[in-house]
């Protein structure tokens, strides 16, 4: 209790700390409100989207038009996104499902969409990443004032007790600050009528846990830097340099690395041209079959049906398999990127934020799978209506909300490893700090 009480006073009587907490609180609420308003904007967009898609189908006069123009699928953002508005892999995406060979996934920049672009760090997760880490590395460097002060205390108390009790008492209050900050922004989203369900909270809590460990990592780092630089003023320069490297340089190097690796993937054009060639070869073959001799209308219809079924079974599946191969290579790259990110907390913090927001790499792969499945079903629907039933009246393919893909929040598969690794780092940092401090104080 002695240490808790003293560290409480040291932290909360420092005006700089109080000002920083207020600054962080204001900034967090501001960016959460931005997140909420963007999410509300998205819900509005979704309503317009559904209404437009319903009207669009009424404009088609036959199934050939429906098959050619198709319909759009919207990636519906999770309400959790309000915490991660700009810490996502993509903002919002759509796809067009039709019978053509190209699989389209896109973000529209048309009209007002131009102004809804991603801006790094400008959300709750980003604010904690940027300013939280800076605050914690500074607080870590401040945890042990200096050698003379420590020696004075050690004349009455033991180093082990003073070191660990002070560090963990301080951390207790600092973690409490961030938990309360999180609680405040959480209740703020509730006030703003964003309905977060139990399952959303079940993703936010692991994020909170990693966020705290990430911040504690910076605290221990600050503490170690102060001890390694022998409590000199140069500590603060090193602290700042390490923070810049951890927050900006390492993530940037990792991003460039991912970009370079992604360049090894086949281009969309290369895949599309292969798919187009398959389709054209098929059409050529079909045309030859039809032109070989003169057919009656019934014969033509029978041949068309046969061709369509053949197309669905062979060429379409071949093109699907090409998409699946690309998807697999994407997944491999993402898995590798995930494992790489595990190595450094700032990388894994970003990765976890992406995935928990629902707009991360795994969310994208889920969407990819969904539209491949939907394309297959749409083709089946198209063949049935055009060649088998030969319906005249257009029955919409989208009966319920098939054109809305609900974002799934993901906890990275390596989450537990992430927790263990960052905990190991923290233990190593505090261990080195303790033994180094011991050697500094007790000279041989």
């Amino acid at each position: 209790m002695r240490y808790l009480r003293y560290e409480f006073l040291c932290i909360f009587r420092d005006k700089k700390v109080i000002l920083f907490i207020i600054f962080l609180l204001i900034l967090s609420i501001y960016y959460i409100s931005i997140g909420v308003s963007e999410y509300m904007g998205f819900l509005n967009k979704k309503e317009n989207f559904i209404a437009y898609e319903k009207q669009k189908i009424k404009q088609y006069t036959n199934y050939t038009q429906y098959g050619g123009y198709g319909f759009r699928v919207l990636y519906e953002l999770s309400p959790v996104t309000v915490f991660f508005t700009n810490s996502t892999v993509f903002k919002d995406i759509e796809s067009n499902i039709d019978t053509l060979e190209i699989l389209k996934i896109y973000h529209s920049f048309k009209g007002k969409n131009l102004f809804s672009q991603k801006e790094s760090f400008k959300d709750f997760s980003g604010i904690v990443f940027l300013f939280g880490s800076l605050f914690m590395i500074y607080m870590g460097a401040q945890a042990i004032k200096n050698k003379d002060y420590l020696k004075f205390i050690l004349s009455k108390l033991s180093l082990t007790k003073v070191f660990f009790s002070s560090i963990f008492s301080r951390l207790f209050f600092l973690n409490l600050i961030f938990i309360l900050l999180f609680a405040v922004v959480y209740f703020f989203t509730l006030i703003k009528a964003i309905s977060l369900h139990i399952q959303d909270i079940s993703f936010l809590l692991p994020f909170l846990l990693y966020m705290l460990l990430f911040l504690n990592f910076f605290f221990f780092l600050g503490n170690l830097i102060k001890i390694l630089s022998n409590f000199r003023m140069v500590t603060y320069l090193w602290v700042f340099l390490f923070w810049v490297v951890s927050i900006f340089l390492i993530p940037e190097i990792n991003r460039v690395y991912l970009f370079n690796e992604s360049q090894k993937l086949p281009t969309n054009e290369k895949i599309n041209i292969k798919k187009l060639k398959t389709l054209m070869d098929f059409e050529k073959r079909g045309l030859e079959m039809l032109l070989k001799k003169k057919h009656s209308l019934t014969e033509i219809q029978t041949i068309n049906m046969k061709l369509a079924k053949e197309y669905k079974k062979n060429e379409f599946m071949l093109n699907v398999s090409r998409e699946l191969v690309l998807k697999k290579r994407l997944k491999d790259l993402i898995t590798y990127y995930e494992k790489r990110s595990l190595l450094f907390p700032s990388l894994y913090y970003s990765f976890t934020s992406h995935e928990i927001s629902g707009q991360g790499f795994y969310g994208y792969l889920g969407f990819y799978d969904y539209i491949i499945k939907l394309r297959r079903e749409f083709l089946e629907y198209y063949i049935q209506n055009v060649y088998v039933k030969r319906s005249k009246k257009i029955e919409p393919f989208v009966k319920n909300s098939e054109n809305i893909f609900k974002a799934k929040n993901h906890l990275p598969e390596t989450y537990l490893y992430g927790i263990l690794i960052i905990m190991c780092y923290c233990i190593i940092l505090i261990g080195i700090s303790y033994f180094r401090l011991r050697n500094l104080i007790y000279k041989k």
């Binding site: 002695r2 003293y6 009455k156 041989k444």
Partner: protein
């Protein structure tokens, strides 16, 4: 009682060499040295922060050479308040150092009373307190354990006469309580005022071999002593 035998520190005893001295209970022993580093080193050795190359340290006849805890109250001089946690009050700092021990707190308040500092005066942030008050708090905390043996490193250096007198009264009180006090200083005139025995350290070695007792010191020519041991 503090006894030091053949103490050596530094490369080949460069800082302290073959130091032999004994501080009896009820005695103030002043060790005078011009080189601050020597005194700082000896102080840290007696605090338990430095391991010696050779020699033995006995406290109340117990060998504490290898032990980190030496059972000696240590009072160091203060350079800067900024080295401490300045956002808390003097009272918070005392509470932190005393824990929940009422006896320790009473002992601290007792010492502070001698410096005209009362509990109500302690509700001031360290950063806003003056150095004299903080020094008094520092001294009171250092002495709160009421150990039988005390080592003081030039505590009153740079302080005014009023503070020095109050400190001397406290020192005298402790002597009367039969405590062994080792006072490390560079000031021969201060040693002249308070010491029962005086020795010098020159080039890491104790001089003269036997300490000068107070009565003899008063008959000696201070300038000659200064020239011989401190110049």
């Amino acid at each position: 009682m503090i006894k030091i035998e053949h103490l050596e520190y530094g490369e080949n005893g460069s800082l302290l060499n073959d130091l032999n001295m004994g501080i009896e209970n009820g005695e103030i022993y002043c060790l005078i040295c011009k080189e601050e580093q020597c005194l700082e080193t000896l102080f840290e050795i007696l605090e338990g922060f430095r391991k010696i190359n050779k020699g033995k340290i006995f406290v109340d006849s117990n060998d504490v050479t290898e032990s980190e805890k030496k059972y000696i109250s240590s009072v160091n001089h203060i350079e800067d308040i900024g080295d401490f946690e300045i956002e808390v009050t003097l009272n918070n700092f005392i509470d932190y150092m005393c824990g929940n021990n009422i006896n320790l707190k009473n002992r601290v308040l007792e010492i502070l009373f001698q410096f005209n500092l009362f509990e109500k005066d302690l509700n001031i942030k360290i950063k806003n307190s003056n150095l004299i008050d903080f020094k008094a708090v520092h001294l009171a905390i250092s002495l709160m354990n009421d150990e039988n043996n005390i080592v003081i490193n030039d505590f009153i250096r740079g302080e005014g006469k009023e503070f020095e007198l109050k400190f001397n009264i406290l020192l005298e009180e402790m002597r009367q309580k039969d405590k062994a006090i080792l006072y490390l200083t560079g000031n021969i005139f201060y040693a002249y005022n308070i010491a029962d025995k005086v020795s010098f350290i020159k080039n890491g070695s104790l001089m003269p071999a036997e300490p000068i007792i107070s009565e003899h010191l008063k008959e000696m020519d201070m300038m000659a002593l200064y020239k011989k041991y401190l110049n």
